[in-house]
Structures are given as C-alpha cells and as structure tokens.
C-alpha cells in the first residue's frame, strides 16, 4: 500500500474549507445576534429636546454600538465553543494533528471575524433604513459613538476587537479543556483582577489598559496592538492544546 | 465445500483437502493452474494467508508445483500421491476406532486379530 504525504499547509487548507461547510451554526448565531443588536439599537434611542429662539428641536440618536458590542461578545463565545470536545473530535474524524486543527480553527475565527465586522458595519444602514421606514419623528441622527466615521473604519475597529476577544475565548476554552478547574479559576481571576485594577487611584490602571487599545487614534497601530495580543493568546492556546488528548 | 470450522481439522488443511478432491474428481487435470490464494480466500471467506498455507501444504507434498510468478499447477504424480495418502489416513482412523472400542470391551489383541481374520476370510469369499 502506498503511503500518502500531506503537507501541513494542505491539511490546514482542507480543514478550513471543512469548517466553513460544517460550522453552519456559527453563521446562524451571527445573524441572530446582530439582528438582536440592531433591534436594541432601535429601542435604545437617546432623545433630547432643546428649545432655543422659539424653535423646538428634538434630536433622536440611534447608534449601532450595540451591534458591535454584541458581535464582540459573539466572537468570544464562538471561540470558546469551538474548543469543546465535540468540535475538536470533528477534526479527528479525518486527517489532522493538533497544530493543524488549531491553526485552521484560528483561521476560521479570523475569517468569520472579518465577515462579522462587515455585517456589523452594514447594520448601520439597516438601522438607518428601518428608522426611515418607521418614520422617526424629527431628524434622525445615526452615529456610532466610538467611531463616528466611515464604514471602512467601523469594519476595521470592529475586526480588531472581535479578533482580540475571540482569542481570549479560545485560550479560555483550551484552558478549560485542559482542566475543568479553570471553569472556576478563570472567572475568579478575571473578576478579581478587575476589582484589583480598579482599586488604585480610581481605576487608573484599568483606564490605562483600555486606553492602550481604545484611545489609539491611529487605526494601523490599533490593529497592530489587537492582532499582536490575539497572536499571543492563540500561541498559548496552541501550546496548551498540543498535549491534549482526543476521545479520552 | 462448506468449511467445518468446529472440527479439529485446521482450515488450511481443509482447503488443501478440497483441492485434492478436485484433482481426484478430475476437475483439475495435470498441469492445470490451481486457484490462487486470493481466489480461494474470496471463495471461502478466509484470510489469504490461511489459503496460502493450504497451497504450501500441497506444494510440500509435491501435489502441485510452483511456476514462479505465475502460480501453482497440478503435478504429474498428483493423483497417485493423493490416493496413497488417503489410503493410509482413512485406514488408520478406522483401525484406531476398532482398538479403542475393543479396549472398552476388554478384548485382548488376540481376540481382535481373530475377529479381523474371520472378517477378511468372509469378505474374500464374497468377492
């Protein structure tokens, strides 16, 4: 019987296609969560009335921030789910090793991260259309607070965040696969850490942490920072899962 | 042939004996090609290695000869060898049964011989 040689890149490529075909649930959950986000955006309007020089101006602000926050959260949960037993064993039904399985999942998460960012940005239009159709009173102003900018900017900023949070979800998931104790340890560490970080001088450390990513004015630097952090998290996950057993 | 998987007889011997019967009945003539181990495996649902062992047995007894790379063929003396072999075997089994039964009945060797002689004579007269 002749032996088969397969390069890692070839296997990873095949696995990526396999995952795009078989993880249909990931895409349906994305659609549901973003529609939900859009709905919240419509409800969570902030209205204000001003009366100057005899005119009454009513301003209603609609924001798609909710969609973006929901998408980031979705990225975290999706990554976490993909580390669970059933998903890992899907890979082991066919040719794989732990590295190729990890890398193809990371590639998949990056790909859906990009798709979700695009759809999140597009929901901006969805909200605008809906607002127009239901005929909002007065002039509707639709904005995104954190990036009141062009579509492309929304896409990139969302993408950076989704990637960052997916990597966090992934490493958390792998840790839990490693030892179920992490189900208790991780939340304790995160919550405890947040409390500790808020303690000195009115959350200065926490602010520093957030401003490292979210006060970055340069888009390129922002993307660099988020993807580099994600790369670190993913590397840790790959190292940990290289010792994981399957079907144990 | 249906393989007797319960008997004391190993399957490869049963395979060998089946081919011997094919030769005796003339289904396989001298210099005919004998079924390959794979054909036999497929016919009897057995591992090809088991079938090969049966064929090797026949080759060792010079019932078949080997043409390298082509297969195994019925040898010239095949018929004679098989007849000779079966004679020895079946007679031995029958005699074993006789001795075993005689012992159970507490007969002496002398008594058995006498009985055999009687039988020999009467059957001779029949001919």
């Amino acid at each position: 019987m002749s032996f088969v040689q397969m390069k890692a890149s070839e296997v990873i490529g095949k696995q990526l296609v396999y995952k795009c075909k078989s993880y249909a649930g990931v895409f349906t959950s994305l659609v549901v969560i973003q529609l939900l986000g859009a709905l919240f955006s419509l409800l969570a309007t902030s209205g204000s009335m001003r009366s100057t020089l005899g005119y009454d101006v009513r301003v209603q602000t609609y924001t798609v921030d909710m969609v973006i926050v929901f998408t980031i959260f979705w990225g975290f949960i999706t990554a976490l789910l993909l580390t669970t037993r059933a998903y890992r064993e899907d890979d082991f039904a066919f040719v794989t090793n732990r590295n190729s399985s990890n890398i193809s999942t990371i590639a998949f998460l990056t790909l859906v991260g990009l798709i979700s960012s695009v759809t999140a940005a597009l929901s901006f239009y969805l909200v605008r259309v809906v607002v127009f159709l239901i005929g909002a009173e007065g002039d509707a102003v639709i904005s995104s607070a954190s990036v009141d900018a062009s579509l492309l900017l929304i896409i990139f900023y969302t993408f950076g965040s989704v990637i960052l949070f997916s990597s966090m979800g992934y490493v958390a998931g792998v840790m839990v696969q490693w030892s179920k104790l992490f189900i208790f340890i991780l939340p304790a560490v995160v919550i405890g850490g947040l409390i500790l970080l808020y303690q000195p001088s009115d959350g200065a450390v926490m602010n520093a942490f957030f401003s490292f990513y979210y006060r970055e004015a340069n888009l390129l630097f922002y993307l660099l920072k988020t993807t580099a952090t994600a790369a670190i998290f993913y590397s840790v996950a790959v190292l940990l899962s290289n010792r994981l057993e399957v079907k144990g | 042939m249906i393989l007797d998987t319960d008997g004391l007889k190993p399957i490869y011997i049963q395979i060998a004996e089946w081919i011997e019967s094919e030769i005796l009945h003339g289904n396989l003539q001298q210099d005919d090609k004998v079924y390959s181990q794979y054909k036999l495996a497929d016919m009897y649902n057995i591992n090809p290695a088991t079938a090969a062992k049966g064929l090797k047995l026949l080759a060792d007894e010079e019932i078949v000869y080997d043409k390298r790379g082509i297969g195994k063929f019925v040898s010239e003396k095949a018929q004679a060898i098989i007849v000779e072999k079966r004679k020895g075997q079946s007679l031995k089994h029958l005699l074993e049964d006789v001795v075993s039964e005689a012992k159970r009945l507490n007969m002496t060797e002398e008594e058995v011989r006498k009985a055999l002689k009687e039988l020999w004579k009467t059957s001779g007269e029949d001919d």
Partner: protein
C-alpha cells in the same frame, strides 16, 4: 516492514494502568484481530496507535513514527469506532465527500456503491442514524479511506447478523484487492476468526498472546473422560480450564503440546479429544481469578 511497534508501552490513568508494559510488533499488510475482555485495554491501545491518546511511558511507533500529533500517521491511518463525531450540519453524502477530500487513497465509487447497497439516503444526518446504521456508515468511511493502517474498534456494534456478514465480506474483498494493515477489535471473534491472520490477546492491560490464527486454533485441546484416565495426561501440562461433571467425569482444556502419537494413545484410553474454539481458548486464557460466576453464587448460598 513493521506497521506497528510498541515497546513497554504503558498508559496510566489516575489510579489504574490501562496498558501495562505492552511489547507488540505487527507486520504490515495483515488483518489482525484484537481480542480481550471488557476493560482489557483494547481501545486504549488502538487510540494510542492512532495518535489520539498519549502514551504514559514506553515507545510506540506506527510506520516508524511516533503517532501522537503526527500528520503523516494521521494521513495514513484511520480510526473507526462506534462513537464517531461527525459535524451534525453535514449530510451523509457530504461526509463521504469530505472523506474523499482528506484521504488521498479514498475510493469514492466504492463508497457510493456501498452507500446504495446498505440503503442510506443522501440527505440523512449522521446523528439521526440508528446504532446499527451508524456503525455501517462508519464502516464505509473506514473501508473506503484505504488507509495503509485501518483501525476498527468494535465496528459491528448494533449491526444485525446479515449486515455483519456483508461487512466481513466487504472487508475481505477490499483487503484482497488492496492489501493493507487492518487492526480490528471485536467481541464476535467466532464470526470473524477466518478473516484474521493473527490475533493479539490483551488481558488486564498486558499482552497475553500474539499468534497466528492457525496456531490459535490449535492452541488448546479439550479432553474429556474418566478422571483416572485423563489425570495422567495433565502431568506437567498447562491446564487452562477444568470442569468436573457427573461422578468421576472431567472436562479439561489444556494447552496443546501433545504429539500425534500421544493424542492417539489418549483416544485408545477412551478419552474424547476435541478442538477448543479460538473464542473459548481466549476466554480460558483471560479467566478471572477466583473461581468465576459459580463461586459468586456459592458464597451467597453458604450465608
């Protein structure tokens, strides 16, 4: 070439050694039966060989490579058990197509013909299959992948007798056409023994026996007769099992190292000599210590 080579292979779980110093060498292109009681370590061994589990100590090589995390071993082997996890969103037909994408030796024609033969429907989903159908589908994947090392762990779970028979035939036919190493664990040894070339018997995580099927068929013989006539023949022999029946009758399974002459003399002594089926031989070889089930009930009765 050796397909599999294990040296002092040990797998330790928290309290218990699932495998305990197994030395095993398996030639390529043979069909090997892996036999053993429940919990003997069969599945653990197969999962280590296919690179799913990591050995605790000792060495294991598949095609001269350590299987854990090895892409070459994964590309050239397949592990099929009754708990295959396939993505639920793909249909059976789509799963076969994935098999073709991943395994380069895959025979898609055969896959489709078997798919048809066993009455599967294109749109069916793996998770909705009955146990027997599931096993049948997994078997198709295992067979059509044509991997140089094909591992089946209890492949016939839930299959009815007719399908089992079909499976055995399909396995043999495909093996004859495309010889490869096939490692198969089963509890239905009597149905499959003719297919095996060799048998590996595990007992409590240890290798109990590794021999050819032909030798296993002659491994032990059964002697039955009067105690007085059987007893002398057991002197210095390896008695595997002994059952007394009636007043002074005894049935014994004993390791077969008697000469033809000795067997003949036994028969003349009025002892009936029978063969011991491989299944029974394996059962005797892996007998539990402490007297078996009758013993359990006996201590109950005495209370």
């Amino acid at each position: 070439m050796k397909a599999i080579h294990c040296k002092e292979l040990t797998k330790q779980y928290r309290r218990k050694a699932a495998l305990d110093g197994v030395d095993l060498s398996i030639d390529d292109n043979k069909i090997i039966g892996l036999i053993g009681r429940n919990g003997a370590g069969k599945t653990t061994l197969l999962k280590i060989i296919s690179g799913m589990l990591r050995e605790s100590s000792g060495h294991v090589e598949v095609f001269s490579k350590r299987p854990f995390n090895n892409l070459f071993v994964s590309a050239n082997s397949i592990y099929i058990d009754d708990q295959m996890n396939f993505p639920p969103s793909l249909t059976l037909k789509e799963l076969l197509k994935e098999g073709r994408r991943f395994y380069k030796n895959w025979d898609h024609d055969l896959a489709l013909r078997l798919f048809e033969h066993f009455g599967f429907h294109e749109k069916e989903s793996h998770k909705n299959l009955s146990k027997g159908k599931e096993s049948t589908f997994n078997m198709i994947v295992g067979l059509c992948s044509r991997c140089p090392l094909t591992i089946f762990d209890e492949p016939t779970t839930g299959m009815d007798a007719a399908v089992r028979k079909d499976f055995h035939r399909a396995l043999l036919k495909d093996y004859i056409a495309h010889p490869r190493t096939i490692l198969l664990s089963t509890h239905y040894m009597n149905e499959m023994e003719d297919l095996f070339e060799e048998v590996v018997l595990l007992d409590h995580g240890k290798l109990r026996l590794h021999t050819t099927m032909d030798d296993l068929r002659e491994y032990a013989i059964g002697l039955s007769g009067k105690v007085s006539s059987v007893q002398p023949w057991l002197e210095g022999r390896d008695v595997l099992d002994q059952q007394e029946s009636g007043l002074d009758d005894v049935q014994v399974a004993v390791k077969h190292d008697y000469t033809d002459g000795e067997i003949q003399r036994m028969r003349l002594d009025g002892i009936s000599v029978t063969s011991i089926q491989p299944t029974d031989a394996c059962m005797f070889l892996t007998k539990q210590e402490g007297g078996g089930l009758d013993h359990v009930f006996r201590s109950n009765e005495s209370e």
